[in-house]
């Protein structure tokens, strides 16, 4: 599972690339663990280059969201392709995970 990481202000931005499926999601969960241990920044999942997500991927996202419910930092996702967004909606994840259209959308929000 490939992904890139960048920082903007007090936000970690993680961009998984390709597919979050049963094969790749365990990998991605390990990568993400570093940002979940004891969060010292906001976490934004940038899905711009994510082509596909299945329930195995949703599971990783759900676990991340649960960690951030307990801390003062925010967790969000952005730049979802239509199919990925639909899977989030069908699963009701959009009711507890903020979804932004752009990275800037989230950056502006936490700046307020």
């Amino acid at each position: 599972m490939e992904y890139t990481v960048s920082q903007e202000k007090n936000i970690n931005i993680v961009r998984p690339i390709g597919r979050l499926d049963s094969t790749t999601s365990p990998d991605f969960e390990q990568c993400l663990a570093e940002y979940l241990k004891s969060p010292g920044r906001h976490l934004l999942l940038d899905f711009d280059e994510l082509d596909y997500i299945s329930s195995a991927g949703l599971r990783v996202v759900l676990n991340a969201a649960k960690v951030f419910r307990e801390v003062e930092w925010k967790f969000a996702a952005c730049c979802m392709q239509d199919h990925v967004r639909e899977v989030f909606e069908i699963s009701g994840f959009d009711s507890f995970i903020s979804i932004y259209d752009t990275v800037a959308g989230f950056v502006d929000r936490v700046d307020e």
């Binding site: 499926d21 596909y52 329930s55 199919h83 699963s91 009701g92 507890f96």
Partner: protein
């Protein structure tokens, strides 16, 4: 034409199964979006059979007739009827949600019919999807 794909029930086989199904897009005559949905449905059910079923072999059959794709998934693992799996309540707040149960929910959403039977120690799940 019917296409049947047979894999060993190990997670490393799932990728080639999905790639092969994707390469059949012309025969199935569906849009990219529909192919993505078909792959999702297959992945959820086949991954379940591999991870929870404990069988040896999994067979996926695809049969496109007119505007309907019939998918049959057979595995020789322990009996499991997905039509009886408890519904996830997708309206629950985050604190009440637990990881799991979304696979079958997505399968139901992206297909038109879902049926199950057990025959000669084999789980047979049949699905249809309008294309």
């Amino acid at each position: 034409m019917k296409v049947k794909l047979q894999i060993q029930a190990t997670i490393d086989q799932l990728g080639s199964l999905c790639k092969t199904v994707e390469s059949l897009q012309q025969s199935i005559m569906c849009t990219d979006r529909q192919m993505c949905e078909i792959i999702l449905v297959l992945e959820e059910l086949v991954a379940n059979a591999i991870l929870h079923g404990g069988g040896r072999v999994i067979e996926v059959e695809l049969d496109k007739e007119w505007d309907e794709l019939a998918i049959t998934i057979c595995d020789d693992g322990r009996p499991f009827d997905p039509t009886l799996a408890s519904e996830v309540d997708t309206c629950r707040p985050l604190e009440d949600r637990c990881a799991g149960g979304l696979g079958i929910h997505l399968v139901k959403h992206y297909t038109d019919t879902l049926a199950y039977r057990r025959e000669k120690d084999v789980n047979i799940v049949t699905l249809t999807k309008k294309i």
